[in-house]
Amino acid sequence: MSTKPYDRDRSKTKRLEMPVQESALRIMNFDEVALGYTTEMAVKEAGRCLQCKEPQCVTGCPVGVLIPQFIKALGEGDMTRAVGIMKSRNNLPAICGRVCPQEIQCEARCVLGKKAEPVAIGRLERFVGDFELLSRTHPLEQKKDTGMKVAVVGSGPAGLTCAVDLAKEGHMVVIFESLHTAGGVLVYGIPEFRLPKAIVNSEINYAVESLGIAIRTDHVIGRTYTLDELLSEHDSVFLGTGAGLPSFMDIPGINLNGVMSANEFLARVNLMKGYLFPDYDTPVKTGKKVAVVGAGNVAMDAARSCLRLQKGRSGRDSGNKVHIIYRRSRDEVPARREELLHAEEEGIIFDFLTNPVGILGDSGSNVTGLRCIRMKLGEPDNSGRRKPVPLKGSEFDIAADTVIMALGTSPNPLVFFDSKGLNRNLNGTVMADHETGRTTKTRVWAGGDIVTGAATVISAMGAGKRAAADIHKFLTLDNRWD
């Protein structure tokens, strides 16, 4: 099964831990938590790969990165070749290596995982991505101008990937973004300590400069221009506007002061750099007792940002508390494993099998706490997960002066304003073909969270890539919609 240079004994050992900032230190700052492998570590970990003839890891990757091949190159110390193999499928490895849920994708299928620990594919991907960020061994190349114009709406991973692939083919691409910076959730949602903004900006600037992609920030499609106006001025339009609309629970007290969506909290912290207030103008309030509702990546990011704001402001041990309130148990936590572990290490208090039924306030409309009920797991529901059911009479209160709702998001309908013919599902997602990204409206494609609902960076990139291939075919081959 394995080829020569790979040491079978090594494969049985544990995967190499990645150095991290120690938890007592890192909760005082917003610097990156995970520090990445050194070259020696990366080469050593690469040596654990068995180089399977029929690699299962690849089947777990939404964009089909040629995992054994890039790891082989890495193990042989040939970084440039590793980058080339990586980039043939994934343009943003430095980002994906940091945020993909590898434990349920590639690493879940690694055969080593059956007996020992799977190869740390994500950490190796990150290493390759970081190497390329500094050395740029594989410049983006552009074919000659086709004279075709494509509008991409939204600059998150779906829009960026689609734009880059189309620009490489020689189409003129303009990205329209409603916020003042490009990057989507990568800049407004995921915090600096998990994904440094310098990395996102470097990737975007590099693509823009190499391929001449225009990014029009401050352009809210549906308001600044309508979708139909874009269609009249471009040959095709790709919608990658994500799922940015926050949901609030339908419980009493939701409008009290101190209750906010995770989107608001994270936008204040990340997009507006509220953690640097007052050097930056936008304030962000975190009280002494924070309750974050939900246990996805968004909830972990909000809770861990709160902790850092509290520690940064008032020093340690001053009675500050951050709770995560989740209606299922630890096993069902949807966040990346690494984020859950880091959150636990950092001292976030987890209230599992707990669900809020009301928010308590004082006479000045300020939050004072959360009334919760205990849950137990019942029969599996449609999704196969065991459904949480409330335990009668188990209500209790948690004191809180800040409540952050991280309950999932849905597509923002603003982009459809005044445009007809684009069909949507009941939950607000756009109907689009999985393989091509074609919507029900002629010359309009869509992909990423706008189609799937809140999902992952890599699945959004995959959708952007597939749509770009179909748009290219449409523009250059047959121009047929049907």
């Binding site: 401050d218 926050p246 906010m260 936008a267 304030p283 000045g364 923002n412």
Partner: protein, 287 residues
């Protein structure tokens, strides 16, 4: 970057700025707003569109210098640039022929009420306007308002100009005199003024539209920070508004939410003024 074309002082604390932003002008309508961010460090400031010119691509904004951001914006001059200018946001005012309408502008609210009054007048309505301010030095655009109104009433709280008293006093008289003859009322100004207008018109069942200026971040429905509680539930001011039926708004909740960041706003202002003073004294010494 978006260039400031012109700057005027309308009163001691009220500034007018004309900013070149053709992308925003193209679809701009009365009642909508924009989001401005001064520079990399700035916050996103929502400001109602006071006027716009499709030919030049310029937008006119009028704002009162109250906190750090508006003072900083007011310190910029023609030729300077701002980093962000996004819009037009929110829904346009529902301009139609209603019959007789009253347009009320309080303080800096005189600016956004102007294009609405103008559009209502153009739609054939009889427009009665009431503008008010703390004192004469805070009043502006009286002539502009008169030019689009069939009747204009001017008040000041201290009686330094026009009628002494609040805008709700002449409003009440108008409603008493011809309640059934008033088909719609628009009121824009400080929260407390819009609340008192809504309370005044409620007993007469007079359809009252207010334009809410809540705290915002993105202005596109993404954060929910702008939410307001209406009779029928929560609504986002930036995408569902900014105009709402004043009789449905939970005013106490709204006014309290608008106070929430006061301590931080004060801190930001102190921090900025301190920095300005430092820079000034360094300049001084440089000379």
């Amino acid at each position: 970057m978006y260039r400031i074309i012109e700057k005027q002082s309308l009163s001691d604390i009220t500034k007018l700025m004309v900013i070149h932003a053709p992308h925003v002008v193209r679809n701009a309508k009365a009642g909508q707003f924009v989001i401005v961010r001064i520079n990399e460090y700035g916050e996103r400031i929502p400001l109602t569109i006071a006027d716009f010119d499709p030919i030049s691509g310029n937008i006119t904004l009028i704002f009162q210098e109250v906190g750090k951001s508006t003072k900083h914006l007011g310190s910029l001059n023609a030729g300077d640039e701002v980093a962000t200018f996004a819009g037009p946001l929110g829904h346009a005012s529902e301009i139609d022929y209603y019959g007789t309408v009253i347009c009320i502008g309080g303080g800096v609210g005189i600016a956004p009420i102007f294009p609405i009054a103008r559009a209502l007048k153009q739609a054939g309505n009889i427009v009665i306007s009431i503008i008010g301010a703390r004192s004469q030095s805070f009043l502006f655009w009286e002539e502009k308002m008169r030019s689009v109104s069939d009747e204009l009433i001017v008040c000041t709280d201290d009686g330094s100009y026009g009628r002494k008293g609040l805008v709700i006093e002449p409003l009440k008289e108008l409603l008493e005199a011809r309640a059934s003859g008033i088909n719609r009322i628009w009121a824009i100004g400080p929260g407390i003024m819009m609340k008192s207008v809504s309370m005044t018109t409620r007993p007469y069942n007079a359809n009252t539209i207010v334009s809410l200026n809540t705290i915002m971040i993105d202005g596109t429905g993404m954060c929910g920070g702008c939410r307001v509680l209406l009779d029928e539930g929560a609504s986002f001011v930036c995408v569902d508004g900014p105009e709402f039926d004043g009789h449905k708004v939970n005013w106490d909740m709204l006014l309290s939410r608008m106070q929430f960041y006061r301590p931080e706003e004060r801190l930001a202002l102190e921090h900025w003024e301190h920095k300005c003073n430092l820079e000034a004294s360094i300049d001084e010494r440089g000379k």
